[in-house]
Symmetry: C2
Subunit: 396 residues, 2 copies
């Protein structure tokens, strides 16, 4: 049905709240329950959209299953996109988001790639804050500073037209999930994690291509990469290092951005090199962007930031000539995690040749800077404080 009035805009100020009557146990840090990554906090945001009516009233409701038509386009045609962010319990007791405006804008950019509606970034951030206001007090206990909660805003096409058509209805929802710290912890029973061992991809599976959608955070990039990921894990590696093209350009590692620190043969200078955003092959990561901005401001010393394609052969050559300093991945899920080695054509190239003191390595300095912002050790505009409901008094 079309209406004469303009479709309604998303308006977080209209939010309605239905409190949950049950409280799910919060997984202990490092527990198997936390590693399972399948427990969600007590509440979720949801908001329906239709092409004719626009956005309905957003609501916070008790966490629960979605009811979807088997014909829904999100299930058949992958009309779906999402964001990944975290809320951090600071050492000053406050909860912060990290540059939520960047994630919120990226959601609309991803949505556009699968013809879902744009989501106003300010309203989205307001909805995320409203959800955390209720759930952060219990799910990010004040007694556990340094803990975080993963936030997953999703936008899915809910229309049940079987024909391949533009989505006419959608659902925005936001859930939060306690996650382990991949950059520091290992699953129970696994050896301690000091970094990632990557397997360079073979030409028979590529993650993304020019004119495709590698830059968008759409489900279509993830399920289709599981096969290569699973095979890498069976071979004993942690992630795939995705190469592209006959020349083997280095793009991403798993679902994170990849960075190498290499001394230039020509200039002798130390360069922080990462793939460019120009042809939309890789995700415009918020952590990536932040790392590059910090490095350009000089927090890691005399390091030149270079966004350009480099090939795996080029990296191999630098390794053979002793010019590789270090490598790391960055992203919300894995934060900043050192890359221990890359397996390329059957040979393991070890990547950690930086300062003898691990804390003085570039990845470590960058992680420290970002962590200090996220956990409120230093005051920075990238750390956005979230107001919380007063915690209820514990029973005496």
């Amino acid at each position: 049905m079309s209406t004469l009035s303009a479709p309604a805009v998303l308006d977080a100020s209209k939010l309605t709240i239905t409190h949950s009557t049950v409280q799910c146990p919060v997984p202990a840090l490092g527990s198997p329950e936390q590693w399972a990554q399948n427990v969600c906090s007590d509440h979720m945001v949801q908001c329906q959209w239709s092409v004719s009516g626009g956005w309905e009233t957003p609501e916070i409701v008790p966490f629960g299953n979605l009811s979807l038509s088997p014909a829904a386009s999100c299930l058949n045609y992958a009309t779906q996109c999402f964001e990944g962010m975290k809320a951090y319990r600071g050492f000053d007791g406050k909860v912060r988001l990290f540059r939520p405006d960047c994630n919120a804008r990226r959601l609309s950019s991803s949505a556009q790639r699968v013809c879902l509606p744009a989501v106003d970034d300010k309203e989205l951030v307001a909805l995320i804050k409203a959800l955390l206001k209720i759930d952060a007090p219990r799910w990010l206990p004040k007694e556990e500073p340094g803990r975080f909660l993963y936030i997953r805003p999703s936008l899915i096409g809910t229309g049940s037209q079987m024909g391949v058509q533009l989505p006419t209805s959608a659902l925005l929802y936001i859930i939060t999930v306690p996650w382990p710290d991949f950059s520091k912890e290992s699953p129970p029973g696994s050896p301690p994690r000091t970094g990632l061992r990557l397997l360079a991809s073979q030409g028979d599976t590529i993650r993304a291509w020019p004119g495709g959608f590698g830059h968008a955070k759409v489900g279509a990039n993830y399920g289709t990469s599981l096969g290569a990921h699973g095979e890498a894990q069976r071979k004993g590696f942690d992630q795939v290092l995705w190469l592209f093209g006959d020349d083997g350009r280095v793009t991403e590692a798993g679902a994170s951005n990849f960075m190498a620190v290499v001394r230039s043969r020509e200039t002798g200078r130390t360069e922080l090199v990462t793939a460019p955003l120009t042809d939309k092959l890789i995700l415009d990561g918020v952590t990536r962007r932040s790392v590059l901005e910090l490095a350009r401001k000089g927090v890691v010393g005399e390091v030149e930031v270079v966004e350009r394609y480099f090939t795996m052969s080029e990296l191999e050559e630098a390794w053979e000539e002793g010019r590789v300093v270090e490598a790391f991945v960055c992203g919300t899920a894995f934060f900043i995690t050192p890359v221990l080695s890359i397996n390329f054509k059957g040979r393991d190239l070890d990547m950690q040749h930086g300062d003898a003191d691990p804390a003085k390595r570039i990845a470590s300095i960058l992680a420290s800077w970002l962590g200090n912002i996220q956990y409120g050790v230093i005051d920075h505009e990238w750390g956005v404080v979230v107001e919380e409901e007063e915690e209820e008094e514990e029973e005496a």
Copy 2:
């Protein structure tokens, strides 16, 4: 939970049936309700799978919404694949499937690409038949021979692990949807359809890539192509003709395979040309395969079948030299539909230069052959008869 026993196999003989107590009205042929393509028949098949337990008991239940975790991998990571088939009410009163074994095998091939479980093809066909046994009598009325019902088997990852991991649980479901005959009818209020007007894709949007998943019927191929499709429609075209590579190789049209009939400049012979399956760029269409097999058997006379890449420039050159005979798309949704024109670099190339009598054109002859098999006019192993429940006596 792992079990000591082997995961259970899919077993259609264990099927349980819960009949619906309500009967949804069956849309009239050509009605707006039928064009909406969002009414499903009264029942659906569903069957749960888990990596540890294998397949649970398949069941036929009243059609209804699915209950899915907001964290389900099918919603976040597009772990989803599907099939498209039809059930045909024959002119002999019987209901037939068309080569259902081909679709069933392809579902497993698609599933593999997104790490979902294989589905035994014989069991899947048995489940489809069981669903039609119940729903065909009312949804494909005997009084309306020549009518068909679209069948959508879907397989989705239902696990709610937020981490990017191999699916550990899944749901197979099968629904059926009355569909209009795209190859003959137009939506109410639209001009009669005599064929498709295609817009050759621009380099900035590419459907598939070698090493990608263009050959798989996974949701990831569909939502991501809606943008280009929508733009083509806004410009007045019906579908996108997807080109690949700097040389503009012709791959698919919309979500159908594309075929051109061209006289060879060298040999003077008439060739039926279509893109090859070799590098997995295009879907291994059941209609495509059937058309090629029929043409190779000579049903369209002296036409040489050639599976090879041809570029849009090559087709344009043939057109300029008057060597284009005709072009058509083929697939389950659009069956065999003539291509009226292709817009390439701003110029419309008209494609129909075959026999003055449209019924004698190659697309028409092929459609007639296939239709005769599907609707039981000729007896052929590709047409698989479906047993139906006795229709209840109408009230006197």
